[in-house]
Symmetry: C2
Subunit: 593 residues, 2 copies
């Protein structure tokens, strides 16, 4: 189906609204008022306007032209989704929107945004760059797309879930955060990230796909009490007993009034997390703002022993589903049965669903064959799913939210003939994975410092990959949880014992195939009498790597030992839960190389 | 000699001056008005007050107490130089002066500084932290130490040197910088770093030890003309012909008047390089300030082909002197002749002096035996020099300024019996050196990202070192030239082809011995058909590593190959210039392991 006329018509309607507001351009991100990574249908305005369905991007529309900005993961995907004669394609880091606007607009121009869809920090940065070109940024309180997207879906209605696997009472968490408030001489903390609100109150929800949170904001006070702003219809029996004393619930749209009432108080606020609209509102009241990172971010990144134990149990169940899938897939290949990317994704989802405590996928499954595996964030739902039969490589990046933990695992699997060169690249990426997974490092080391470890085997041959090497993982919360972060671009807080991270280097050969090896790891202290306090990674994921794709000659003895030892653990932990055929498959898949 | 009564008396006199100014504390850095790393005698106020002679530190004095702040390199040295009952010892990164002041002073206190001795950026940062504690920072225009240091030495008088090895005419450099000014819509660039001034004008001087610069400031205008502020007695015949058109010379102390005259102009200024006093002066005039990094810093970091060729020639001459020294040292050890750290330092300096184009040491030679080698920036001039005989390890970190390049090399040499454990650590540090030296990496990679590469072999065993892994090197300018920088703490600009860097990991066993392996490298593009544009390091230093200290079992085949290949290059380039005995020594020192 050719969507181009539809998008052209929507752009025309948007430009009409821009004219009404006296705007020369508008900037629209893939975001909502809760900075969700995965957007519910009612918030997918970028997709509605241009077709792009990925998780990180923005479009800019002027009266003459339009452009779409995405990161390296999505550079190929936009060429398939957003019509090239309507949208210029830009790399969001190398040629960001503000720079593009500076080049394409005259001084004196006005650019409209919706202040709920950008953090205050983002807006400040944009404003600064645009100001250098004499361009003004305007928060249009009545969202422009709202006016023209007449059949916009209504938000879902899902009751709040009371989580019993958190390992720490909400009141205890709130008092700890309140202590930080006191140390920083603040009266209140504004929490606008639903993942932080849900962590703080030990609640979950189903409002946003792939992220089990409730759309909500919170105000924490110095006595540990909280004002929770949420659709009150979502409250359930036992809510107040569960969250403990001092939680007062208000309708979501009372947040602006509540902020206005903070005049005279000192408010702890994180401009990088807070919607620009709310930040501006507080700034214009008589409240005194103190800018700090939201302390809930770091607190929830440090998993407690109950959460870690939950992660371990969830990974055993997730490993069972994954091994069942991989055994089944091998049998299908042997039998010559061909499936397509869609049915393969449904199969792993069905197997996960059979596991206790499973909630939903932790992100949109990447189920990709051959050339589609070269698109790191491929989504078969937006393409004609490719069928097995002609490709050598199948890449599956998937995961689940369980009530006791969240998983994220990528395996690259042989489903046909592959070249020696493909095996070499598979092995180089695995060498990078092992190098980082076996790295010991002192406390106070950041992911930016460690990231190169996973890239070095590729760099040495003149290759690289255009995405981060890993991210923190929430406990039944966002699968991409920061801090921590392994990146070659962005810094983050140092790694600490108790953090849960992914390690996921890759290599992508455009139009041919892709490789990615992803495990989750717990950060653990290294025991013993060390001169320097060091940390290391302990595997959580329990799924075999496909040893058929290895070029063993490229591996060192230490790397071979690591792989064999890892596979022994998989057999030990997962084997007993499988049926006989699956167990035989696992023994073969995990035999020493 | 016990200096304690002397320092106690000087502190008393300083506190008297603080009282006169109504100050509760004062902060004094190891710096001068030119942010020199190596201070001329007249600027060594910290040493005069407390005895500390190192290059990076500060003291804080209140009416009740005093503290000295240094980085990891100097933590042991201060215990030997600054009396413990007069000065509290603090790590400058872990417990910085502003934090200490916040903890030790009451709200409403006043802290005095000399605005010429701090950059505007530093002062701003201090002011911010102190403001959180209600403490005020005051620029005392009449330096407090000046008033009590009555026999302060007068500055030296050295004529300007006209450098003929720069590879690019001053006017050409000035026009390129002026182009940047134009792009940034600025009328003038204030250059306050003498290394930048000297680079810009292709001049050098002898005003500051170990840094061949002239104490000077410059104002560059959009037409490429320059106002140079310098002691005019230092001008030499041929100066104007050498620097080219448009250079107007003014006395040094006219800088403040010249800045006042910039009212109405847009001035390009780097708050991290500019003395706070000058910055404040401009800010209080009607000039419009645009904050950017001084563009000369990056321009001079990118060496041109003439400079690189000069570096190569200088390193051959430097390698000859070093090999002569090492051959001589081995002979002395064999003969049982004992020297002390001072005479050893004099010997290498004497050998370098015999080489053509030699100017001076590029930094204070670190000549350290046994336990003194555990002090990374040991200076035998401030101790009783230790004599050979009882130690296994001699560490020599030294270098020279030549008119065509600057060298910086560290070798760890066996001069007696050493333990197996010492050999293991020697080898682990060498593994780190080789790992970074053989690293290929994409353009846009910073030293912060690469730094861990050199630490990893140590980290894996629970060890680390508390200093950076390397730094840029100036062309007959500062030996510690930023950018670039390899650090686990500080970020810097990405590495680029043409930059010259050191790689110098180490390990220090307190009270026993130390190991450091340092070479200079040129950053070069990797030729060939690569998917990603990558860079690599090419050795400049040509001096053998002591293979007698190797634990060969810890080295991989690739590491052994690297070492043997490196030693082949040393024999090829240095051998022909040595006498027969030295050449035989070199052949033995460089034989394949």
């Amino acid at each position: 189906m050719n969507h181009k006329p539809l998008f052209a018509e929507r752009l025309r309607a948007l430009r009409e609204q821009m004219s009404k507001e006296g705007l020369d351009a508008c900037l629209l991100p893939t975001s909502d008022a809760f900075q969700s990574e995965y957007l519910p249908p009612q918030s997918r305005q970028v997709e509605w306007l241009c077709g792009f369905s990925g998780e990180n991007g923005a479009i800019v529309v002027t009266h003459e032209s339009a452009a779409i900005f995405v990161d390296g993961r999505f550079m190929v995907q936009i060429t398939r989704q957003a019509p090239a004669d309507l949208f210029q394609y830009c790399h969001i880091h190398n040629h960001p929107p503000a720079q593009w606007l500076g080049q394409n607009l005259a001084a004196g121009s006005k650019v409209g945004i919706d202040g709920y869809l950008h953090s205050a920090g983002d807006v400040e940065q944009h404003r600064k760059i645009l100001a250098e070109h004499g361009i003004e940024l305007i928060d249009v309180t009545d969202n422009l797309v709202n006016r023209i997207w007449l059949d916009r879906p209504a938000p879902g209605q899902h009751p709040i879930i009371l989580l019993s696997t958190s390992g720490q009472a909400s009141l205890d968490k709130r008092l700890k955060m309140a202590q930080i408030l006191e140390e920083r001489h603040c009266n209140a903390l504004l929490v606008t990230h639903p993942e932080c609100v849900c962590w703080l109150l030990n609640i979950r929800g189903r409002d946003i796909p792939c992220t089990p949170v409730v759309m909500s904001y919170a105000l924490l006070h110095q006595d540990g009490s909280v004002d929770l702003f949420v659709d009150t219809d979502k409250l359930v029996d036992g809510f107040h007993e569960h969250v403990g004393d001092g939680v007062n619930v208000h309708p979501l749209d009372h947040i602006e009034t509540a902020l206005a009432a903070l005049a005279g108080q000192t408010v702890h606020i994180d401009p990088d997390e807070t919607p620009a609209r709310l930040y501006a509102q507080l700034a214009s009241s008589e409240a005194l703002l103190r800018q700090y990172k939201d302390p809930c971010l770091l607190a929830k990144a440090r998993k407690n022993p109950t959460e870690i134990a939950g992660f371990r149990r969830a990974h055993i169940r997730d490993g069972i589903a994954m091994c069942q899938f991989l055994a089944w897939l091998d049998a299908q290949v042997t039998a010559g049965t061909t499936h397509d990317e869609g049915t393969l994704a449904e199969k792993i989802e069905a197997l996960r669903s059979e596991q206790p405590l499973y909630i939903e996928p932790s992100f949109a499954t990447i189920s990709s064959l051959g050339p589609n595996a070269a698109l790191c964030h491929y989504d078969h739902r937006y393409h004609t799913p490719r069928a097995m039969g002609s490709d050598g490589i199948y890449l599956l990046d998937s995961g689940g939210h369980y009530f006791d933990g969240t998983t994220d695992v990528t395996r690259t699997i042989q489903v046909g003939a592959v070249s020696d060169w493909c095996k070499q690249m598979y092995t180089l990426v695995l060498k990078g994975h092992i190098a980082l997974a076996t790295c010991r490092f002192p406390a106070n080391t950041t992911g930016l410092q460690l990231d190169m470890c996973a890239r070095l085997p590729l760099w040495q041959q003149g290759y690289d990959y255009d995405h981060g090497t890993g991210h923190g993982v929430g406990h039944c919360l966002g699968v991409h949880e920061l801090p921590p972060l392994f990146s070659n671009r962005f810094d983050s807080e140092p790694l600490e014992a108790g953090m849960v991270v992914t390690i996921e280097p890759g290599y992508y050969r455009a139009d041919q195939w892709g490789v990615r090896h992803e495990n989750e790891y717990e950060v653990v202290p290294v025991a013993g009498d060390n001169e320097v306090e060091t940390l290391a990674f302990r595997p959580l994921t329990l799924v075999p790597f496909d040893t058929r794709l290895l070029d063993r000659s490229l591996l060192s003895t230490a790397e071979i030992d690591w792989l064999n030892h890892y596979h022994e653990q998989v057999v030990e932990q997962i084997g007993p839960a499988l049926n006989l055929a699956e167990e035989l498959w696992l023994a073969e898949a995990c035999k020493a190389v």
